[in-house]
Symmetry: C2
Subunit: 289 residues, 2 copies
């Protein structure tokens, strides 16, 4: 199959998916065109999924890979309290996958795109020895209201959504916490990050950006069958970690997800995380460690 | 070097580069944040550069690769008549390149980013056996004024900027035709595409999107030392191909670039390109051909 035919097939699949009004031109030109809405900020993130590092063809079906590639990226939008607008997909694949595999990949990706009202607006396609899927997501948020990593303040309470310690081996189709992120933003929480590389590393990142430290002083909501070690350090939970002013009253759930208090933000010692009173060394996922 | 340290280094380099006012939050959060300007459309494109396919470490220095990764993407903005706003870079590299190589790559990328007033606003970093650089660019254009592939009309004259037949072997640091694209949009040209995969293939693409055909009936502006065959089919020229109403009076140059008339748009035979009266088979670059 020639590149032109594959692109024509992807375009047909995309046009049968969710079509948001903000995208005035999707696949078929040099660029996609977005008409922004007044009084909104737009947020952008990219996330690269690599065969052999984030998945294998043995463990993940084409649709799993398509789902995961977009879900990881949407999870970053959720961490800003944003609602999805569109995505672009840069896909590289071996020649042998140019037929049904591509269709299944895009069906998986478009299923979750439609669920979260994300328009597939464009991307790139190339041939390569291994599968590479780089997804770019754009979301929108009321002007000046995005949840930042850098907004945590000493005295803030720290919370997480859902359960921790789910690893990717048991989490083939993670769900981005879009609804929870948007709800939490509306409730007035302060800072947020998504847990993609493990609680210990991601909490440290939030603390470094906010120039604060943190103390975990409550039980973690550990996923069934997981250990405390996994809840602290395993990546790919795709839950939200957030902080809120101590006086802010939060419900027990954001949408269907439980919210659990796990600790407190403290001044000084930028980036230090205490667990049971002792410094917690981040062991989360680091590509180059 | 750990991922955190590499990211900190990239962030420092990015913050020393061009900082556009539209980006209210760059590297350091889950997403970059853009505050759109009223009455503008935003255009988006992604372009994946793969080691062994688009470059090798022997032929391209790290700075060449950084330059080329962004230049290809900016070329798509030029084809819309857009001005650059920001880029995201998803980069995968072997562990051994995590030190000075990364710095040199970003220096090359940021040099051209600064030249074309593009803010490096974020991205992703991962370890992989080979170098993969996927760049995402966002540009802006007055509302409803983007140049489309689909806007050509029968009777339009066809033009190209610059010279054709430059191949990537002699074109290590291609310049995106940003100024020409913006100038041509202001002059009222109708349709445009950038020549990234060869004139024969890209002109066919424009014709297919516009549901027209084309006839090349004038001499092509062949680059010095290149053949007619290369001017017709070689990829990576990164010039602009555009059409304009027959009555539109165009200057001889767009900025510093010569503009050359090469043919005419005709009705029917969607996607057919005639050259000297005979159908021209597209031989441009096709990843899966």
């Amino acid at each position: 199959m020639r590149e032109t035919e594959i692109v024509a097939r992807i375009r047909k699949l995309a046009e049968a998916g969710y079509q948001g009004r903000a995208i005035v031109k999707g696949i078929g030109d040099d660029c996609a065109i977005l008409r922004p809405t007044a009084n909104e900020d737009l947020v952008f993130t990219s996330d690269m999924l690599l065969e052999g590092r984030h998945f294998t063809r043995r463990t993940h079906s084409p649709a799993d890979i398509g789902h995961k590639a977009l879900a990881r990226c949407l999870s970053d939008l959720a961490a800003m309290g944003a609602e999805p607008v569109f995505c672009l997909v840069s896909l590289a694949i071996p020649a042998g996958l140019a037929g049904p595999w591509v269709t299944r990949f895009y069906r998986g990706l478009l299923a979750i795109a439609t669920k979260y009202q994300t328009t597939l607006a464009g991307g790139d396609l190339a041939r390569f020895e291994k599968i590479i899927a780089d997804v770019i997501c754009c979301g929108c948020v009321p002007r000046g209201r995005a949840l930042l990593r850098s907004a945590a303040k000493p005295g803030d309470k720290i919370y997480v959504t859902g359960k921790l310690g789910k690893s990717w081996r048991r989490n083939l189709r993670p769900e981005p916490r879009i609804e929870a992120g948007s709800t939490l933003r509306g409730l007035g929480v302060r800072a947020a990050i998504d847990l993609s590389d493990g609680l210990s590393l991601d909490l440290q990142r939030l603390c470094l950006e906010s120039q604060v430290s943190a103390e975990i002083d409550a039980d973690l909501p550990i996923a069934r069958g997981s250990t405390l070690e996994q809840a602290l350090h395993a990546g790919e939970d795709y839950e939200l970690l957030f902080t809120a002013a101590p006086k802010l009253s939060l419900p027990a759930r954001a949408g269907t997800l439980p919210i659990t208090y796990i600790g407190i933000i403290a001044p000084g010692h930028y980036g230090r995380v205490l667990f049971n009173g002792r410094p917690l060394t981040p062991k989360g996922f680091d590509h180059f460690a």
